[in-house]
């Protein structure tokens, strides 16, 4: 039986809760639909190179970014489509970028691994594991020097925690008292290797705590839990506390790249992970809160339609002008076209 919105049926769950969770549901289904469309396009050869899908990790992106203003900034990893969308980048411009076309958010010059939208504070995905961490602390440090109010969120994976810059960035954020939230999207794998098999000691959060950085851990597939905890930490950052370290336990439901069949994970493990898929979990929660199935379906269909349209448009879009190969390099010493024995 349908229940009118505005009339909570569960004893918990205000109108605001429902609206917020619905917004998360919309963001997550949009991310999912974007990733599915990107994967299909990649299979069809329309998206080149490697793409790293965040299917299964949508709740982390949505839950954290819902607490950020446009002026706040994020850095992300090679697996950055979800964070970009959650931060407010336009799906159409992102899809054009993946297809390497004119009008892509990076002009077709970066692609999936270097996707960025500075207009919404998305300072870039990165093809080097852990490389976003010093950049993120630099953004936070620059904000401190200029007296700017914004905060920075650094998304990284558990695969980064054995790199030097991981340690350096945490230390740096703490000694300079920077307004930064480190979010470890812990999906248990560093590419195709179980992180715990190559990581000494209790792991990432313990390393942060050893440096006096307060760390918390949540179920990264429970978008309400992510939202609540990230919200609390971000509020405290804005109040002058921090930095903070948040571990969001999640799972990468697809392979490391779209081409990875994932033979290093057991079928049982992957099947169990699909049971924890954040999107149906949010749907179940919304149903509990009285939202009609038809409304949820409509959101899902709208997301699929939006991304199908984005992919269709991208497939027809022209390639970037060839002059783009030689622009945005440097003001001084821009390339002469002396190459190839000119």
């Amino acid at each position: 039986m349908d229940t009118k919105r505005g009339e909570p049926v569960a004893e918990h769950g205000s109108n605001a809760d429902v609206a917020r969770l619905l917004a998360h549901y919309s963001t997550m289904t949009r991310i999912r639909a974007f990733e599915m469309a990107a994967e299909a396009a990649h299979k069809d050869g329309l998206v080149g190179g490697a793409i790293h899908l965040s299917i299964g990790q949508e709740a982390v992106a949505s839950g954290v970014c819902a607490n950020l203003d446009r002026a706040d900034q994020i850095t992300t990893t090679h697996r950055g489509h979800g964070h970009s969308l959650a931060k407010g980048a336009a799906a159409s411009a992102m899809m054009l970028e993946l297809f390497g076309r004119a009008g892509g958010v990076c002009g077709g010059k970066g692609g999936s691994m270097h996707i960025a939208d500075f207009s919404v504070g998305m300072l870039g995905a990165n093809g080097v594991v852990g490389a976003g961490m010093p950049i993120a602390v630099g953004a936070a440090h620059g904000a401190k020097i200029m007296g700017a109010d914004r905060i920075v969120v650094c998304f990284f994976g558990d695969g980064a925690v054995n790199r030097g810059p991981f340690l350096e960035a945490l230390n740096w954020a703490k000694i300079y008292d920077l307004d930064i939230l480190f979010v470890c999207e812990h999906n248990d794998y560093a590419s195709t290797t179980r992180t715990d098999s190559v990581t000494a000691g209790p792991g990432a959060a313990a390393r942060a705590e050893a440096m006096g950085i307060e760390a918390a851990e949540i179920d990264g597939n429970d978008v309400e839990a992510v939202d609540a905890k990230a919200g609390e930490l971000i509020e405290r950052l804005r109040g002058g506390e921090g930095p903070f370290f948040l571990t969001a336990r999640t799972y990468r439901l697809m392979g490391h790249t779209a081409a990875d069949p994932g033979a290093y994970r057991t079928r049982e493990e992957v099947a169990a992970a699909w049971q924890g898929d954040p999107i149906p979990r949010a749907a179940a929660r919304l149903t509990e809160l009285g939202v009609a199935e038809s409304e949820l379906s409509a959101i899902g269909e709208q997301a699929s339609a939006e991304m199908a349209e984005a992919a269709a448009r991208a497939a027809e879009a022209p390639a970037p002008d060839l002059a783009q190969a030689f622009s945005d390099i440097q003001d001084i010493g821009a390339p002469s076209h002396r190459g190839v024995g000119a």
Partner: protein
């Protein structure tokens, strides 16, 4: 004009640019005590520890934080202490700083200056003496500067700080105490990409940069062919036209560098000019540089790697015979 050392000239440059633009700041090890070579003397007292930042020994993050701060609106001077240590931050310079503007389709620039002192110094041995300017000149996205004089270490540094590109700024450690006239005008800028005619001559064009300019000038004082010495100042972009004009006059090109000769920046200079003007040259192009060996600790071993004024004179004489 005032008479300043190469180090003092740079301190003046940083102070003027920081006073002029609140977005300029510096980060690196031991800057508060003046920097390991004294080149930041007095700056922390004047500008405060928030703008002259003492960092931990975290080269990757000294550079990487510089990238993040530059992408988001500030203009950091990233002090790497020794260019040899800067190798701990090559990803941050080459994969991040040099490429962010391009990969992001021009959404942001990286206006940072990475100061990386180079050169053989005081029996400093293999890990504290290198000249790796060729590595960075090879990377699209970077500007590479090698000042040779105090005036240039003021004017070029000011230009580098004002530039919106990532500049690899390579001062020579042996030049810190060298004194000479430096303009006092706060708007004195030496344009990037422009060479300096250090000494006019008739018979051989000697192209050099950094400390080697002084060795080339000493060579020019001696007997033998008349040497025209060009100080490139900027290695990328380098002033091809200045070298071409000189070669049109002399017809002989000799590049002298402290760095290893093999695959060094001199190869870029001679190859380019041979391609451009090969038929008009009176002698084959030549390069002088260090043998391909790590820099030994014992002074006699280190000295074997040096290109001397005698080497330059001898090569020039051969080219004229």
């Amino acid at each position: 004009m005032s008479r300043l050392s190469y180090a003092e000239a740079s301190t003046q440059a940083v102070a003027e640019e920081m006073a002029r633009d609140p977005r300029v700041w510096a980060l690196g090890e031991d800057l508060g005590r003046g920097g390991v070579f004294g080149q930041y003397k007095g700056l922390q007292e004047r500008f405060g520890a928030d703008r002259i930042v003492d960092t931990p020994i975290s080269e990757a993050t000294i550079m990487g934080a510089g990238v993040g701060a530059a992408l988001t609106g500030t203009r950091p001077i990233v002090e790497m202490r020794f260019s040899d240590f800067a190798l701990c931050a090559v990803d941050e310079l080459v994969n991040q700083a040099a490429k962010a503007r391009f990969m992001f389709g021009g959404q942001a620039k990286v206006p940072l200056v990475a100061r990386q002192p180079i050169g053989m110094w005081r029996s400093s041995a293999a890990q504290h003496s290198q000249s790796l300017e060729a590595w960075y000149a090879h990377v699209p996205g970077l500007v590479v500067v090698c000042p040779a004089t105090p005036a240039d270490n003021k004017g070029l540094l000011k230009a580098a700080i004002r530039a919106d590109d990532p500049v690899v700024y390579m001062e020579h450690k042996d030049l810190w105490p060298f004194e000479d006239e430096v303009p006092e005008d706060e708007d004195f800028i030496v344009p990037l990409g422009q060479a300096r005619m250090a000494r006019e001559g008739a018979d051989v064009t000697v192209v050099a940069w950094s400390k080697m300019v002084h060795i080339a000038l000493a060579a020019a004082e001696g007997d033998g062919p008349s040497l025209e010495v060009i100080d490139l100042r900027t290695l990328w972009p380098w002033d091809e036209e200045a070298v071409a004009r000189s070669l049109a006059k002399t017809g002989r090109l000799l590049v002298a560098q402290e760095a290893v000769r093999a695959v060094g920046f001199g190869a870029e200079v001679v190859a380019t000019m041979a391609e451009r003007m090969g038929r008009e040259l009176k002698a084959p192009v030549r390069r002088l540089g260090a043998p391909r060996a790590p820099i030994g600790y014992a002074k006699p071993l280190e000295d074997l790697l040096r290109v001397t004024a005698e080497d330059i004179r001898a090569a020039a004489a051969e080219m004229c015979s």
